[in-house]
């Protein structure tokens, strides 16, 4: 994925879920729901297809593995390039949001171009 291609919402949310700390698959699903305030509910198929792509892009890596109740639990972490890509996306979205807010304010105060 190119650095200039906008991130799709699930990708953005998965990277955000991993930004502060490594998480396992189920933890990411729950966190994405929390971050999006219940608006986005990812399923396992989407999550693992995304993780496969993000790993191959070098944005996400395996942090560690644990066995819990006889099942493998793999923790994923955001890599430096992944963090840089997320930061760039946040910067871009913030700039767009600022611009949109200003325009809306101008509209409310009756300004015209």
């Amino acid at each position: 994925m190119s650095a200039t291609t906008p991130l799709r919402e699930p990708t953005f949310l998965i990277l955000t879920a991993l930004a502060a700390r490594p998480q396992h698959g189920y933890g990411i699903l729950r966190d994405v729901e929390e971050i999006s305030q219940g608006r986005v509910s990812l399923q396992a198929g989407t999550l693992y297809a995304a993780l496969d792509r993000l790993s191959s892009d070098g944005w996400v890596d395996v942090d560690r593995e644990e066995v819990v109740d006889g099942r493998l639990r793999r923790y994923y972490r955001l890599t430096e390039p992944g963090a840089a890509r997320l930061a760039a996306e946040v910067e871009k979205l913030s700039a767009h949001t600022r611009a949109a807010r200003q325009r809306l304010r101008a509209r409310l105060t009756g300004g015209t171009a």
């Binding site: 496969d52 792509r53 819990v68």
Partner: protein, 310 residues
């Protein structure tokens, strides 16, 4: 019960993904609220996406250094299949006088000799020396065409497949871990298989003498000109070569399959030439025979699409 249901769905995932993630995904799915139609569709869509990504090599999960390492080892051997046309003449001219005449007649002969040396150097894992030979051997096709043939473009078109594979082998020998790594990946036994396949292919082409000079003609014209026996021998030669590179490259690994695709370039070009119309412009024929395999190799992820510097 749920576990069986999920295992059935996960069976649709690519093998390498299953081996790495099945247990982990099962844990995530069983921790959820239970199977639902939405979840089933999502899992199947995920499986399809991963298969597609692997098919067109978009997932980056291919180690191109390993693909090229296999090409660096096996490529020079495959190149020798192209020497069949010259070998045929050399065998016919058994006396020294006739041999020298044959070389004058076929200026391509020294080029194939260079590739013979490259193949030996590669087998002895002398990467640098083999790379130098490959970089000399590829433009030598052009030089032979300029010096030796009245119909320059004719000869360029005929050797397109070999020149293209020659460049790829030279690149592989220069920028990959080289034949030593290739040997680790394929092993000695598969090299023997490839040598046997190339040898058989050469003999078959020699037996089908006359077909290889008339390459860019539709099948019906070619068959009419050369007869079904010669054309069958020629087709067999291609089939044996293609089978040899798939077996030797390693059909079980993604890197092996990609390497086999690279090594099949001369086969693909030969087939392309067969379907090109007989009145095709030679420049266009060369461009088509170069572009189609390159696009196929890039599309299938056999060659890296990005070059990383540093």
């Amino acid at each position: 019960m749920n576990e069986r249901h999920y295992r059935k769905l996960l069976a649709w995932y690519p093998r390498d993904h299953r081996e790495r993630h099945e247990d982990e995904m099962l844990g995530v799915l069983l921790a959820g609220s239970g199977p639902s139609g939405k979840e089933t569709v999502d899992l199947l869509r995920g499986a399809l996406r991963l298969h597609l990504r692997r098919m067109v090599g978009m997932d980056g999960g291919i180690d191109h250094r390993d693909v090229l390492a296999i090409v660096s080892l096996l490529g020079p051997i495959v190149m020798l299949a192209g020497a069949a046309t010259v070998l045929d003449r050399l065998v016919a001219g058994s006396s020294v006088w006739r041999l020298s005449t044959a070389i004058l007649e076929f200026p391509g002969a020294p080029v194939w000799a260079i590739w013979g040396v490259v193949a030996v150097l590669s087998l002895f894992r002398k990467r640098r020396a083999a790379a130098v030979g490959a970089w000399l051997g590829t433009p030598a096709f052009l030089a032979a065409a300029v010096l030796g043939y009245p119909l320059f473009w004719d000869s360029v078109v005929v050797t397109t497949g070999w020149m293209l594979l020659g460049v790829l082998v030279a690149v592989a020998l220069t920028w990959s871990p080289g034949p030593a790594r290739g040997w680790e990946l394929v092993g000695g036994r598969r090299i023997v298989v490839l040598v046997a396949a190339v040898g058989t292919s050469v003999v078959l082409v020699m037996k089908s003498l006359g077909t290889y000079g008339v390459l860019f003609h539709p099948m019906d014209i070619t068959t009419a000109q050369h007869g079904p026996v010669r054309m069958t021998l020629w087709a067999l030669a291609l089939a044996v070569l293609a089978t040899g590179v798939v077996v030797a490259g390693g059909a079980r690994t993604r890197e092996g399959r990609r390497a086999a695709l690279v090594l099949s370039v001369p086969v693909v070009v030969s087939l392309l030439m067969l379907v090109l119309p007989s009145n095709a412009n030679l420049l266009v024929a060369t461009a088509v025979c170069t572009a189609v395999p390159l696009v196929a190799l890039l599309g299938s992820g056999s060659l890296p699409r990005r070059i990383r510097l540093g």
